[in-house]
């Protein structure tokens, strides 16, 4: 689980920059942002009187979990990057980095072929093993 939390944290760089300081001073932030629905439930938690650092842990964990759940938007963001620019979700998520329009060379060769990953060595036994079950001769489920 720990590993996953770490992973999802890395995935969304843009949110990281903002949420980094938000989590630390969550009390002040929380008052400002209490409009959002998710924040409302969090508010109830705080008022219950438990030690503050625990709340923030839970908050962090649930945020990480939600981010994990939304692993897809990362790919989506990669593809439809510019869409996130004009749609601010609840005023919370804002893309800081401007969308790079020139991600591909605009005058490069127009070709549909996907050149293979050169890091794969198809001489090596482990690579060959990694696709064994794609064939009818491989292992079957059940």
């Amino acid at each position: 689980m720990d590993k996953r939390v770490g992973d999802s944290g890395h995935c969304s760089e843009e949110d990281e920059d903002e949420s980094g300081d938000e989590v630390e001073e969550d009390v002040s932030m929380e008052e400002e942002d209490s409009t959002a629905e998710a924040e409302g439930s969090f508010y109830c938690f705080l008022s219950s009187g438990a030690p503050r650092w625990k709340e923030s842990l839970q908050q962090k964990a649930s945020e990480a979990f939600l981010r994990q759940q939304e692993a897809a938007p990362n790919l989506r963001k990669l593809v439809y990057g510019s869409v996130a620019d004009d749609s601010e979700v609840g005023g919370m998520f804002r893309v800081i980095r401007p969308q790079k329009c020139k991600r591909f060379q605009v005058n490069a060769l127009d070709c549909s072929r996907f050149n293979p990953d050169t890091s794969h060595n198809w001489e090596a036994e482990e690579m060959l093993n990694s696709i064994m079950d794609c064939f009818v001769t491989g292992k079957w489920k059940e």
């Binding site: 692993a71 794609c134 064939f135």
Partner: protein, 377 residues
């Protein structure tokens, strides 16, 4: 991307990359498109001959298209007409192989007024673009899954013409469809057999046999059911340049096709390759494609996504391997032209299965595109 004057010029893009997909989507959606800064900083600015050839082909299959190109060829304005179809003959500029032109036609053909019969002449096989052999064995079966099939759905290689000389000829016929069927291609199933074509023209027919032997050497490790046809065209059917190559296709239990191919270096354009090396490397490319996996191979991703977009108003799901840069841009263009955005989920293979790399599940609701120009019988 859309500039402030988008209303006048339609969608505005920069540069000649992704030229075909923009023109194709423009034609299908009826939206005007303006492409500027085409190689504007190049020593030889503007559109190339092969792009002009593609535009002429688009002009032949449509009725009433308006095409304006500025003096230097760096700005193109395209207002699509109606997709007409019918019998079309076209000499494809040999700078690119027929595959380049055919990829665009495959996307347009089902939506014509009358069914298309296109005779394309030029380079059938070159190392850059998907060859006609590859499109024949992967793109056509894919389109069949979307309900585009029937007697008149065929791609025939009449004459083979290798780069750089060309001299090949293919005939592509495609029936028209009023609507496209939504698909659920989420499980490719296991690969049951591997088929292939080793072709050679204007070289010793023995070349093809040497390719087959070396390719089998790699693939026999996985599967016994491998058959690679050898195709040696002679005389008038062998085009103008010598060369050889191999197309390999892995077919799964659920009827999905993954392919790889390799073509010899065109005469006078670099170091020649040995047929043994070509066979072996092509087999490794197929393994790479199997590693990527999914229900559609990497060169047909955008075709599958287009047909999903244009499907009836229902959910379509297709499992793909990693998205190619070409496909990623295609998704952005689909958003621009059809306002469709896909749900993109990463599917990691489970730990105990050796099924290659991560897959991507693409989901969308079709726009319910219907071919209004199709003639009723």
């Amino acid at each position: 991307i859309c500039g402030p004057n988008a209303a006048i010029h339609g969608l505005v893009y920069d540069g000649c990359n992704f030229f075909r997909q923009r023109l194709v989507l423009s034609t299908l959606s009826g939206k005007r498109v303006k492409i500027k800064n085409i190689r504007s900083r190049d020593d030889d600015p503007g559109l190339r001959d092969f792009e002009a050839s593609l535009i002429r082909l688009l002009d032949k299959v449509t009725n009433g298209s308006r095409i304006e190109i500025n003096q230097t060829g760096t700005v193109l304005f395209y207002q699509p007409g109606l997709l007409y179809g019918g019998c079309v003959e076209h000499d494809c500029n040999p700078q690119r192989s027929i595959g380049y032109y055919l990829e665009a036609l495959l996307m347009l053909a089902p939506f014509m007024k009358t069914s298309l019969k296109a005779t394309l002449r030029g380079v059938t096989n070159d190392p850059t673009d998907p060859t006609v052999d590859l499109l024949k064995s992967t793109a056509l079966p894919l389109m069949k899954k979307f309900g585009i099939d029937g007697d008149g759905f065929e791609l025939k290689v009449v004459k083979r013409g290798m780069a750089p000389g060309g001299g090949g000829e293919v005939v592509f016929t495609c029936p028209v469809r009023r609507t496209i069927r939504p698909v659920q291609l989420t499980d490719p199933g296991k690969i049951k057999r591997i088929r292939g074509v080793a072709y050679s023209v204007r070289v010793s027919p023995q070349m093809a046999n040497r390719i087959v032997d070396s390719a089998r050497g790699v693939l026999n490790h996985f599967l016994p059911d491998i058959y690679i046809y050898t195709d040696h065209m002679k005389g008038a059917n062998s085009g103008k340049s010598p060369g050889f190559g191999l197309t390999l296709v892995a077919e799964t239990l659920n009827g999905c096709f993954l392919s790889a191919e390799m073509t010899s270096t065109p005469q006078g354009q670099g170091d020649p390759v040995l047929p043994e090396d070509l066979g072996r490397n092509c087999a490794k490319l197929l393994l790479e494609e199997v590693y990527r996996g999914g229900c559609v191979d990497s060169s047909n991703q955008s075709l599958a996504l287009l047909l999903m977009t244009l499907g009836q108003q229902d959910v379509s799901k297709v499992l793909l391997g990693p998205l190619s840069p070409y496909t990623i841009e295609f998704l952005r263009n689909i958003r621009d032209f059809f306002q469709v955005m896909f749900k993109i989920e990463v599917k990691k293979p489970s730990e105990d299965e050796r099924n290659g790399g991560d897959k991507v599940l693409m989901t969308c609701v079709g726009v319910g595109y219907s071919n209004i120009s199709k003639t009723l019988k």
